[in-house]
């Protein structure tokens, strides 16, 4: 006998739930253990897929007749569709491009707001916009699912902060105030709301709202009364403005710059919506919040964006709401300052630090752990680096600002973890008399070079205590790696333009504290944690520390470091031992020996192919200048012997 409609719907829904569960299992297997946030989010989705299958059976039994069975199956189908869509939008593009330091920053910020045990789930989402999932994932995913979700113990109390960054550009360091400022504020508001403290209801006149005539956004046209619909819009606008104010409070001028510039890229500044105030109003209010604290450095960062500030002239209800929101400018600033629990970030206190960092970025050096201001060392905060990054951008700096900024932030994240794991505090290197004699530099000569500020300056950052000794500087592994993948290519031919190293290698990143296993015979590319900037009269060699060499770990087959090199050194790590080795990012595995040249070297060409790397670099062997000559030689030889050519 043919199945009835409701039975067909049930069977196909159960099939879809099962297929979704299998897809999640594959994703969990693919990403492995890459930090608790992403792993726990995937496991929650896995629990959902199982629970939905059980919910289908329960709803089937609870439905009093076929009509309700059909309605329940249809609705559960939409429930599943929207969850699959969420999964796809947040996890199909992966999370490897998101700097791991960002997750640590978000978890730290949550802790400051009393939100313990929050795990950041930062992924690459669809292009175009940031997306913050402001609700608690667990409760939202399972909303109206009545069967036992069968959570494993570790997920029962899981709290996830899910933010997706737009594909292709979201991982730019310049947008960090949006993620750590505005978007995070949305999440914190769900746990620790502040909106009612602003007192919108005292200035919002429902009679004025009802008297407006211009059409509402189509989606709100007949939901409820006009004044009620506009009241909800007003609340949403205020919610956004509070998050903007938080970004400016925590990040100063960089908060304003990143939000104003990103909003301009998303839509015209006069666009009015039911969920967000027009960008012109937001920019205007951000300038007012920065207001009296504005310094010269702030002005350099923010002023070019002032023409994006202003108000709107239509529709009438948006004009009224703009007036209402503007009247709350001071109150929002006051409430947010109290809510944030930290003093506002002002350039007045930090502008010397920000300027110094921007200068270093312009010199191709990724920030510093501390900078000397009036002979005193001032510790650098991530927010200083973000502001320096914006300053460098507005000054038209030609070095790769984004890459250097991300490296600087990553270094600070490492140092934060280093200290919290009871590592020694940094200390400045002792000074010693300079030596003019050529040859290998001793520890005191290295220290002297590190302390210089002129053309003979050597930069090694971060420089952890005890790293300079004997006649070398210890080097540690960073947390970015390039690993080989299974490839279908029969062989790699460096002269074949159709072949790319990326077809057989891929980049991965490990969180600080995580490990990478290196199997016997395996080769991975790592890079040094330390960013090195060489003066023109020094050259260097990288050698494996003997303690590791004796265990079978060999690093740095390309040992020479040229004068003027600036960047993290790529280390070719190979396990020549017989058992897998766990490599923890931050391990001291190599040494840098420095030598003076007999005369200063010529400055490199601007197109030098490995300039300013901040992680391991893919081989650029195909860009070698003699490649084309060698190809021609091969073509001629192939013609002579009748072989198929490149």
């Amino acid at each position: 006998m043919a199945l009835r409609l409701e039975e067909r719907l049930r069977i196909s829904l159960e099939d879809r739930a099962r297929a979704f569960g299998e897809r999640i299992e594959r994703e969990i297997a693919r990403v492995g253990n890459t930090g608790p946030g992403v792993t726990h989010a995937l496991q929650l989705f896995g629990c959902y897929a199982g629970a939905l299958g059980r919910q289908v059976r329960q709803s089937w039994e609870d439905s009093p007749n076929p009509k309700f069975k059909v309605a329940s199956m249809r609705m559960l189908n939409q429930h599943l569709r929207t969850r699959v869509e969420l999964f796809d939008s947040r996890f199909s593009r992966g999370h490897m491009a998101v700097p791991s330091a960002l997750a640590a920053t978000i978890e730290q910020e949550c802790k400051q707001h009393g939100l313990d045990k929050r795990e950041a789930v930062l992924t690459v989402g669809p292009p175009g916009n940031f997306t913050t999932f402001i609700a608690d994932l667990q409760s939202f995913l399972f909303r109206q699912i009545q069967v036992d979700p069968a959570f494993p113990d570790h997920l029962v109390d899981s709290h996830l902060v899910m933010i997706a960054m737009p594909d292709s550009e979201g991982t730019r360091a310049a947008w960090q105030p949006i993620v750590v400022g505005h978007e995070l504020a949305h999440y914190i508001q769900t746990a620790n709301p502040v909106i009612t403290r602003v007192g919108l209801e005292t200035v919002l006149d429902k009679g004025e709202l009802a008297a407006t005539k211009d059409p509402l956004p189509p989606s709100l046209a007949a939901t409820t009364s006009r004044s009620r619909a506009l009241e909800q819009i007003a609340m949403r606008w205020l919610n956004e403005l509070i998050c903007d104010a938080y970004a400016v409070h925590r990040m100063g001028a960089a908060g304003l710059a990143s939000l104003a510039e990103f909003l301009e890229s998303v839509a015209a500044s006069t666009v009015v919506s039911a969920s967000h105030p027009p960008a012109r109003l937001r920019t205007q209010m951000m300038f007012e919040w920065l207001g009296s604290d504005m310094t010269e450095v702030d002005a350099e960062i923010a002023e070019p964006l002032r023409e994006l500030a202003g108000s709107v002239t239509k529709p009438d209800w948006a004009v009224y709401l703009t007036i209402v929101m503007s009247s709350l400018t001071s109150k929002i600033k006051e409430v947010v300052a109290d809510w944030a629990g930290t003093p506002a970030y002002t350039q007045r206190a930090r502008q010397s630090v920000v300027s110094e960092l921007a200068d270093r970025i312009a010199d191709g050096i990724p920030g510093a752990e501390s900078v000397a201001i009036h002979s005193e060392f001032v510790e650098v905060e991530p927010v200083d680096i973000i502001n320096a990054s914006w300053l460098a951008i507005h000054r038209g700096t030609t070095t790769p600002v984004n890459r250097l900024t991300l490296k600087a932030l990553d270094t600070l994240a490492f140092l934060h973890q280093w200290r919290s794991a009871e590592g020694e505090k940094l200390r400045e290197a002792p000074l010693a008399p300079a030596s003019a004699a050529p040859g290998a530099l001793t520890a005191s000569e290295i220290a002297e070079r590190l302390s210089r500020t002129d053309q003979r300056r050597l930069v090694v950052t971060p420089l952890l205590p005890g790293s300079v000794k004997g006649a070398s500087v210890d080097l540690r592994t960073g947390n970015k790696f390039i690993v080989f993948e299974r490839s279908t290519a029969a062989a790699f031919d460096a002269l074949d333009p159709a072949q790319d190293p990326r077809s057989m290698q891929s980049s991965i990143e490990r969180a600080w504290g995580d490990v990478l296993f290196l199997h016997p015979g395996q080769l991975v590319l790592a890079s040094t944690l330390e960013y090195i900037s060489m003066p023109g009269d020094l050259t260097a060699q990288v050698i494996t520390r003997s303690s590791y060499g004796r265990l079978g770990l060999i690093s740095a087959t390309a040992v020479q470091v040229h004068p003027y090199f600036a960047g993290c050194l790529t280390l070719e790590l190979a396990n020549l031992g017989e058992i897998p080795m766990a490599i923890t990012p931050g391990e001291r595995i190599a040494q840098l020996m420095l030598f003076t040249t007999t005369s200063p070297a010529a400055e490199p060409e601007s197109g030098d192919k490995y300039r300013f790397p901040t992680g391991p670099e893919f081989s650029k062997v195909r860009e070698d200048r003699e490649t084309e000559v060698l190809r021609n030689m091969r073509r001629r030889f192939d013609e002579r012997v009748g072989r198929r050519s490149l």
Binding site: T132, I134, I178, H186, L220, T223, T224, E231, V266, S275
Partner: protein
């Protein structure tokens, strides 16, 4: 930055849940739809001589709580929430299912609050096991089944997505 909170919105005769601008809105709408169907199902079961179960009671109380909350917002007694707009969503779709399309726009806030309170009263009676007359049960069944259908319709699509077909104004 997409951070809109969950709600159900109604445009003319057709509910447009989430208005296509937020996945979170649509996720919440699907939960609201499920809840509506559960309420309708409970009413139908009692009308057919059956008993409501504990799961029905949870659904009935959840909806009545949301309706009461929105009634209080309409009367200006409490400030609306933007971090969780479920009550706004449940009330919006219930009001649409109750009346003629578009009639909420011309009603006063107090009128709307009274409509919501009346439905909440009925749901609370049903949840507590008190007897309700057949006509009222039939009305609850019909209103909440319609609410669920409105949500289902608005979340669904008319077919597969065809791309590359120029439509409306824009570059050709």
């Amino acid at each position: 930055m997409h951070t809109s909170s969950p709600t159900v919105r109604v445009d003319g005769s057709r509910a447009v849940v989430g208005a296509g601008d937020s996945l979170e809105l649509r996720m919440n709408a699907s939960a609201v739809g499920l809840l509506s169907i559960r309420v309708a199902s409970a009413a139908a079961r009692v009308r057919g001589g059956g008993q409501i179960n504990q799961r029905d009671q949870v659904a009935l109380r959840s909806v009545s709580t949301d309706l009461r909350e929105e009634a209080r917002v309409l009367r200006g007694e409490i400030v609306p929430s933007v971090t969780d707009e479920t009550a706004y969503a449940v009330a919006g779709v219930t009001l649409t299912a109750l009346g003629q399309p578009g009639d909420t726009a011309s009603a006063t806030d107090e009128d709307l609050a009274r409509r919501l309170d009346r439905v909440a009263n009925d749901l609370e009676k049903l949840a507590s096991g008190r007897s309700l007359d057949d006509a009222l049960l039939a009305r609850l069944e019909s209103v909440f089944l319609r609410a669920g259908e409105l949500v289902t319709d608005s979340l669904g699509e008319s077919g597969e997505v065809l791309e590359g077909v120029p439509q409306g104004p824009g570059p050709r």
